[in-house]
Assembly symmetry: C2
Homo-oligomer: 291 residues x 2
């Protein structure tokens, strides 16, 4: 099966499960469910759940055991996007080619939609925690990566440095590792934890470098893609004085670095005696994507 076929298979499995979860979601008032599911079902590459399902399959895990974590992870990712887009943060009117949550439902509802997705993510994994120790550890890993030594720390640093003139390479790396990298790690390592921690060491290294690659290509895309391709406002980072790799190293140096990071990812994968073909091709996909 080709890389694209496999990606589509993971993607479709996830979309089916997510849509079913959303259909069965019960809450009042109506706007709460609408605002939660609006952003959640806007699509996107679903790279985190796809990664999670792929690593789980590679390690011999069951689809049913990983899916609740994949849904929770995408909910957490989505809530960070909704809150990031708010006027008090990045103030972005568009996301994935559509109105951002607060432009569609108003600021109050967008704040609550984000809170609701984060809380619901934990309700989902806490139900899994009744099954045993690995499930609790996987949930803890997810919470850690999403938290104040993960995504939220990265967002906070991103906000902090957007108001500063002076910053270092270390500051940039702190933001990359935390804001983007940690949820990529959560996808890969929660899958490993649920499979008794198989290849944890290698997968930890892999997820760390892949996370850097992902953020680097995000920056490259922000500087040279179009609104039509990306579905969100372009060149915003530069306008907002955002700390980005392109600003720091220049565009051509960034592309050299992306090649190096991709090579590093592939080298780490060589150390895992499993069928890593999909992950190898995923590295190229991340490096060469246009959105």
């Amino acid at each position: 099966m080709s890389f694209q076929d496999n990606y589509t298979r993971y993607y479709n499995d996830f979309e089916t499960a997510l849509k079913q979860y959303c259909d069965e979601l019960h809450t009042q008032p109506t706007v709460l469910k609408e605002s939660m599911t609006y952003s959640l079902l806007l699509g996107g590459k679903r790279i985190r759940p796809v990664l999670m399902l792929a690593v789980n399959e590679m390690l011999g895990g069951k689809r049913g055991d990983i899916m609740p974590y994949a849904i929770a992870l995408e909910m957490i990712h989505t809530y960070t996007l909704i809150h990031d887009d708010l006027p008090g943060m990045d103030n972005d009117d568009y996301r994935r080619g559509n109105l951002s949550n607060h432009k569609k439902f108003g600021e109050g509802n967008a704040i609550l939609a984000g809170d609701a997705l984060l809380n619901t993510a934990f309700e989902i994994v806490l139900k899994e925690c009744l099954k045993g120790y690995n499930q609790v550890e996987a949930a803890r890993y997810l919470a850690h990566c999403a938290g104040i030594n993960g995504t939220i720390a990265g967002q906070s640093a991103d906000l902090y440095f957007s108001e500063k003139e002076d910053y270092s390479q270390e500051d940039l790396e702190f933001i990359y590792t935390n804001k983007t990298g940690k949820l990529i790690s959560a996808a890969i390592l929660a899958a490993s934890i649920l499979s008794e921690g198989k290849y944890m060491l290698e997968l930890e290294q892999f997820s760390s470098v892949l996370g850097d690659l992902f953020q680097l290509t995000d920056d490259i895309l922000d500087s040279e893609s179009t609104f039509e391709e990306l579905g969100k406002s372009i060149g915003k980072d530069a306008k907002q004085n955002k700390l980005t790799a392109v600003k720091f190293y220049g565009l051509s140096e960034c592309k050299v670095r992306a090649d190096l990071l991709a090579a590093q990812c592939n080298q780490i994968l060589e150390g895992i005696p499993k069928d890593t073909a999909f992950l190898h091709e995923l590295v190229d996909f991340v490096k060469n994507r246009r959105k």
Copy 2:
């Protein structure tokens, strides 16, 4: 020991544990920890953690087993206040006599401080989940009460009806039960679940009525207290066209209802063959409080 002495004992135990937790909290950048702990340590009555510790003690539970849940619960309560105060929600400049979080740290940091407190609350209880089944169930109960069939549903409905002219008694009750009642229930019932579900039925009824009483007295206070007593803007509910019991029933009818709810609380407590003296007096305390 008098009611006041017991309240102070629970209060001080909680404050000590919370301060120690905050002292040991590690994150970057500095503003993230500052904005989280600013609101968390502004004080307040701590009625939810006090209730939790009191019920835990009444049922013979260990202090060390309940404290992480009390800290998590207060973090969840605090995050809802921070997000409620944001310009996109209630737009309140003061909280507990001090600047609200976004007036102190700016909107972006306040959004993240709220997110950080919610996420950290789950990190805390997930660590407890490693101990066993009851710990997972208590965490699930807390998550449920905080979520889209609890506090967040109440906040969403509150926002929804603040823009409507027409609403019913059922709408008001929905907001009360969810926005305020569910976290009161979480305090009492998580303590019961950790003690093998002791007196769950009676405590469920008690917490439901106590929650109604708490929100009713909140409304009474908003309509007749002063800024100095309450530490936050007064009469805001009426100004914002908020659905309140005072608006619905009138002030004197509300006071009659408060007496009835208090009597109902006391009657339910009679059915629990434990030392309920503290809870009886706490009902009076909630009814007669001036802030």
